[in-house]
């Protein structure tokens, strides 16, 4: 028992280390949504209003959509301790990611220990710790824990909700039932996809418990109503044009031409099927991910390749099982995870389908444990062999993450913008106007975040200094359009890393 606790503590420490080590500099910059979160969190902390002057909003206006509030308020509370910096923006995600590892252990443990399960004692013994270790080392989970992604916090709330509901399944105490649904509601206020996943989970579980526990029906209905009351604001908001703005922008159906209702009825269901199945593509899971440089290292899948045989083994073992609780939970989670994500484009999308990581990790862990306990000979050799391969694959991932990724994908993370702000601060007091070229995507927002209330002008690349400014000094910041040796260039901002790539030129006009 003591050894088991020690193993859990060690895995947790490893998870914390992998999620917090150099988190402020790797990934190598704040991407634009992180900046928006940071700006709003800081405004809330200092003025009690968002960047548009709305006091304590329930939904934050952002770039072309409205953000759910929980992550921004979490960052605001962290900023009150750590100050306005990269760490504060990423801290809630990394902390939620680390705690999810521990929670995942208890979730699997309670799930396999449910009385309705007929499961081998060896699986009960090894599965929770194996699952915990695999999630701690998962490149998919590490990656999203290290950026200021709301989805990771939402996943934590959802997992905690699932854990409480499994507890309720075991002991029928109403407090767990209520707690579980409150956390589901909280996850819906944290990330968009959970606006669909949480109500669906609520509906499925409420129906299941209603049928399975006839003595508790009144209690179940009463507790279930709490969830509805809690999500009424989000339902109301989702039905407004503001609330559905994001969906309209990213709708998977918008890129298919279907004018009449008949055409839509014919084409749209297949678009949805196409998107849905894409989340189970081997190429997506094991080879290339979703192709977004911010979501994974190029050339790496979301799972390690050595995990494939165990995923197949775990899945086939689960299919063979009779009606058991964990079978329903795993299949339910796998089916639910891509449901909202398949409505949007691009598809597949590793951020929107992060929930998939939980059932997939359970399946891989099952595969490993079943293979191990069914081995009659060479158990130790198998373990050593597996550890060597897994470690090597993980080291390659870590090497690419800390060494290649910051150089190759620096621009995906808005790298270079902080360096521009440092140059602006360096030249402070030497200019009357600050002008920024529009082609430096969103630089003005970075200036807004790192420096408070700076007046600046964003211009087209064809901009020339107006005549009325002739006697004024202008600090003009523009991308490096080529090798121009001009005396007016007084400084340059470089991308972080040792490639010495010029990101922007600072002109004194």
């Amino acid at each position: 028992m003591k050894l088991n606790k020690l193993i859990i503590i060690l895995i947790l420490l490893l998870a914390v280390f992998l999620r917090f080590y150099r988190i402020d500099t790797d990934p190598p910059g704040l991407y634009i949504d992180e900046v928006s979160t940071g700006v709003n969190a800081y405004k809330i902390l200092t003025t009690g209003q968002d960047e548009f002057g709305v006091p304590y909003p329930l939904f934050f206006r952002s770039f072309g959509d409205y953000k759910p509030p929980v992550y921004i308020y979490s960052v605001a509370s962290v900023m009150s301790v750590l100050g306005k910096n990269e760490l504060a923006i990423r801290f809630p995600s990394a902390a939620a990611g680390s705690l999810s590892i521990l929670l995942f252990y208890f979730f699997i443990k309670r799930l396999v220990e449910l009385k309705s399960n007929k499961i081998q004692p060896a699986i009960k013994k090894y599965l929770p710790a194996t699952g915990m270790l695999l999630l701690a080392l998962s490149s998919w989970h590490i990656h999203f824990s290290r950026g200021g992604f709301e989805v990771n916090l939402a996943l934590f709330f959802y997992l905690l909700g699932c854990y409480l509901l499994v507890l309720f399944w075991g002991n029928n105490k109403a407090k767990y039932f209520v707690g579980g649904f409150i956390l589901f509601a909280l996850s819906a206020y944290t990330y968009h996809t959970f606006r669909i996943i949480s109500p669906l989970s609520w509906l499925i579980l409420l129906t299941a418990f209603f049928i399975k526990l006839p003595k508790l029906r009144k209690k179940i209905i009463r507790c279930g109503v709490i969830f509805i009351i809690l999500i009424i604001p989000i339902i109301q908001f989702s039905l407004t044009s503001k609330g559905s703005e994001r969906f309209v922008q990213t709708s998977a159906f918008s890129e298919y031409k279907a004018d009449t209702t008949t055409q839509k009825l014919f084409v749209y269901p297949m678009v949805y099927v196409k998107n849905y199945i894409s989340f189970f593509s081997f190429d997506y899971l094991f080879s290339n991910g979703d192709g977004n440089g911010r979501h994974q290292i190029p050339g790496f899948g979301l799972l390690y390749r050595w995990q494939l045989p165990f995923l197949i083994l775990g899945t086939s073992w689960l299919i063979k099982q009779k009606r058991n609780a964990y079978k329903y939970v795993v299949i339910g989670l796998i089916s639910l995870a891509p449901l909202p994500a398949a409505l949007a484009r691009p598809s597949p999308h590793s951020l929107r389908s992060l929930l998939l990581i939980l059932p997939i990790t359970i399946l891989i862990s099952l595969g490993i444990v079943i293979f191990y306990i069914n081995l009659k000979k060479f158990k130790k050799i198998f373990l050593v062999f597996l550890v060597i391969i897994a470690m090597y694959d993980f080291l390659i991932y870590a090497h690419f993450y800390y060494n290649h990724y910051p150089k190759v994908n620096a621009l995906d993370w808005g790298a270079g913008n902080k360096q521009i702000v440092e140059k602006i601060i360096k030249h402070k007091g030497k200019y009357d106007y600050l002008v920024i070229d529009k082609n430096l995507n969103f630089t003005e927002h970075y200036v807004n975040f790192y420096m408070d209330s700076v007046e600046l002008l964003v211009v087209e690349s064809s901009w020339v200094k107006p005549k009325e400014w002739e006697k004024k000094k202008v600090l003009y910041i523009r991308p490096n359009y080529g090798n121009v040796n001009n005396e007016q260039i007084i400084d340059r901002a470089y991308l972080p890393g040792n490639n010495n790539d010029i990101y922007a030129e600072i002109w004194n006009l």
């Binding site: 196409k274 894409s278 081997f282 190429d283 080879s287 086939s316 690419f400 290649h404």
Partner: protein, 192 residues
Amino acid sequence: MIKKILLTIFILYELNTFRMWNACRDFSDKFHFSYPQMGLRLEDAVHNDIGFSPELVRLFHNKPVFFVNSIFSNYFHFWDIRFGVMFFSIVGYFGIFCGFWYLVRSKFKYKLMMLALLLMLPLVEIFGGSISYDARLILISFPYLVFSIYGIWGFMRDKKGKGVLIVLGFLILSIWYQYVFSGDIFFDCVKK
């Protein structure tokens, strides 16, 4: 009787999917292993390792690892669900997986050999660039087609009435899907 009729419709439909294969001149590059390309990727990776000891660079970027990763990458494209539902149809792809399921569970004497053969068939495409497309086509598509029929038949026999309904549902879905997305095959192959 219903099972046999449905199986016949399934076979006819699957034969029809050959139209898809026939519309192509060759598979796209992502299915083929290219040694020079692997070398370029390796070189590119090494360039980012300034400041590392040569031993460490070799540990992370070496030909065996890059070779295995490239093969895996090519190989996964064949088992990719998006490729499968276009070239074998949804019901055909489902049939292939059922085929594996029933073959593994069967008491057939040579099942391991057959499994290995089926799993290794895509290697013909990955390495067999010099073989004509038609020959590769027959080598790859035909065995899977037969295997898919075996899987669907096994499923319908195993699940009885429910199995027939599921296969029928998949069949309708396949026809619908391929009608809407027939042009998508050219993401995976070069047009004739």
